[in-house]
Symmetry: C2
Subunit: 220 residues, 2 copies
Amino acid sequence: MSDFEASPRTTVKRLPARAAYDHASVYSILDEAVVCHAGFSIDGKPFVIPMTYGRRDDQLFLHGSVASRLLRSLAGGVEVCVTVTLLDGLVLARSAFHHSMNYRSVVVFGTAREIADGEEKFLALETITEHIAPGRWSASRQPNPAELKATTVLALPLKEASAKIRTGPPKDDEEDYELPVWAGVVPLRLTPSHAIADDRLHPDAPELPASLAGFTRERK
Amino acid sequence: MSDFEASPRTTVKRLPARAAYDHASVYSILDEAVVCHAGFSIDGKPFVIPMTYGRRDDQLFLHGSVASRLLRSLAGGVEVCVTVTLLDGLVLARSAFHHSMNYRSVVVFGTAREIADGEEKFLALETITEHIAPGRWSASRQPNPAELKATTVLALPLKEASAKIRTGPPKDDEEDYELPVWAGVVPLRLTPSHAIADDRLHPDAPELPASLAGFTRERK
């Protein structure tokens, strides 16, 4: 796949060897994570809010209540930075200084646009729902006109984006390899456990759907 | 424990029933999570960066290279918003509209101060290291003067902070409970797997320390 064009904001200056600018790296991280952290300024003051999202092609969709201050600000055309982080492990070095994390993160800069068109909005909500749990859009009751009206959906173009990735063992100073200190990696993963059925489940509701029984976030 | 004083920024306006302003809720979320997302503006443009951190009493510590643009900006006294999110589950409702997440998040607003005092800096780095993996500070080689000089450490006062928490089953519209749609929660948890020892581990290095063998992020 092709690369994102590097901008001054997306060019990784600290530890540039960890940077990735190709679409495949950026998209796979966006598709695996569940939540993003969206940052923006109101009156010069920063706000960072956790949100769900979805991606289709080169667009990232965000949504929320029309009553939300956040959504109103973003729909008004303010600049946003959306960051997604997958934590893959604790990196335990021989020195405290070289302790680190294995992670995959993506940073997207841009200005979101509110989706006004009804059909486009419907598709964007499908994308977000399917991002959270594949198969749910067709399994559940889809939005009615009142629900659509109560929801603001934003599209952020994936134009100015980059990834930063750390993998592998700790990297200690050469002389520290002589120290009898345990060193290595503790892998971490966001793991689902058995689904808990709602107390008021309808007797005719299907069994736990295969899309959830085999649920995994991994898209590698 | 006592409460944080609610400010206009920390007062949860959307779904206020999910808000928590007590120190115990805020601190337990900060102590369980591994990374935060720090947001700030440079020239009016928002940046959101994943970072590790540590908490001691009513201070949050952030650190990074003295060469980092982020750390230089924050040390210069710009306002920061630090958000921490623990994702506890996917909430699958009967309607697409009521799909949600179970989560615990904290938002902290403030201005960070650079720690100049050597002893305070050393203690802050100990706090960050122990936050990542308890027991590592005394187990590993502690920072030397050159490493301390290469590291900027910031303290953010935990004064303007609030938590937002969602737990429990989906909440569908009353009429949708008649639908034969599977509904419930898929619990999610950041789970460690077996630690991977470094290839160059010193033969006299101890076995996997108990602090890691019993590793868990949960602080409940």
